[in-house]
Symmetry: D2
Subunit: 141 residues, 4 copies
Amino acid sequence: MATTTSSEIEIRVPYADVDQMGCVHHSNYLKYFEQGRTELLRETGWAYRELEESGTFFVVTNAQCNYHSPARYDELLSLTTTVKRVTLARIDHHYELRRKEDGELISTGETTLACVDGNGQVIAMPDGLKRKKKQSRSVRS
Amino acid sequence: MATTTSSEIEIRVPYADVDQMGCVHHSNYLKYFEQGRTELLRETGWAYRELEESGTFFVVTNAQCNYHSPARYDELLSLTTTVKRVTLARIDHHYELRRKEDGELISTGETTLACVDGNGQVIAMPDGLKRKKKQSRSVRS
Amino acid sequence: MATTTSSEIEIRVPYADVDQMGCVHHSNYLKYFEQGRTELLRETGWAYRELEESGTFFVVTNAQCNYHSPARYDELLSLTTTVKRVTLARIDHHYELRRKEDGELISTGETTLACVDGNGQVIAMPDGLKRKKKQSRSVRS
Amino acid sequence: MATTTSSEIEIRVPYADVDQMGCVHHSNYLKYFEQGRTELLRETGWAYRELEESGTFFVVTNAQCNYHSPARYDELLSLTTTVKRVTLARIDHHYELRRKEDGELISTGETTLACVDGNGQVIAMPDGLKRKKKQSRSVRS
């Protein structure tokens, strides 16, 4: 049985993401990380879209990215998204982005997300989500 | 008294908008056009933000853009946005984007916007907006 | 043997592409179309990246998009990209974007690309590319 | 005589930058910070465009952002960009983004940029740039 605290997705670098130095513009990595979170959540049995529809939102309160090596147009990248810490109302993720072909490290990053309601007030995560998270963590250890 | 069916804004090309050919990526012109519409509307005495808050939305149903000459990072551009046609529930705009320094034509475009409610159903434009539009057109002729 | 004048790709709508109406922002469809072109070209045996490295560029000279129905966050879309016309230095593509789940038409579009050299001067397409294009068209008819 | 280690620009939040929560998507702040750097550099008498043309590039090696309060469509923001540290080949900047109307803190951030040549090799900053930077720092103290 696979653990669900870590997830891997592939990203094919679109032309529109690359700047005039021929490198993925540094702001785009935050978007890739977000895609990684969506898929990691999906693997735990949740669609973030449904969470929002039920009035539960996750907002980014902190993001950090280290740029190791440039990614270029049309390269196939592999992003590993990992849950680092879950508290009552927050989740920390870690990200590692590598070029698929040779494993070269492109970037690493971390984000903190807070669980909020429709008015932006911090709330506890939905019970089901916390249970799922705990379960997936216990699977791993 | 100035007519309000046409409006001009300046855009300084951000680094992030430029692709690896050193040119503004063609998708960004649609974003510039949108900024032109926001400012044109503001000059007629309306904030699009307030329209949305009151339940009136404008959705783009058609967009077209001709690319004449590339715009480059840090160039100062001048965008002229003009209302071409107003019907009960639709507005057509025309756009002309030029490099400020030498007047070189960068791109031209057209969009059609439909007025919809929160459910996406086409509705008549708010009375006040229609009046304002009519007024501004009569000023011009 | 599959014709290579048409190609289909899947797009999972990222959170970052959706605006405050809950719909994919209209400028993003031009980016999706570009991804469609990259994959269509790859299927004909060419990587656009290599073309650029050899000094051959394709620039968009005209783009047009009709928006039929909104696409929303996390929806899986299917984009069909088709070569409509190839001349000495230009290629016209047609695009049809549908929601995968129910086939709902999201948008259609067309672009014209011109083949240019590193200085932006229009040039004839590389011989190999023209041959490949002809070949793939003859396969279809 | 004004110090040039700090600079302030205004940003009108474009519709395209806002996500379905009605907030500026968190990746866009990195783009705003970049605009702040461009203008800060211009105020020291340098155009980053000319630096790139002369073969000197600045690449982001680290970026960090704290999100304090959401910014919304059409709000007018004020971004203060400050040089924190200059070494032989690196510059650290700090950013503070506030809503213009009420001074509400939107986000803060930091980036590290490395000076590289056209091949991505770290190089010493151009003499003139270092001198200008030193000068502006001595003015301040």
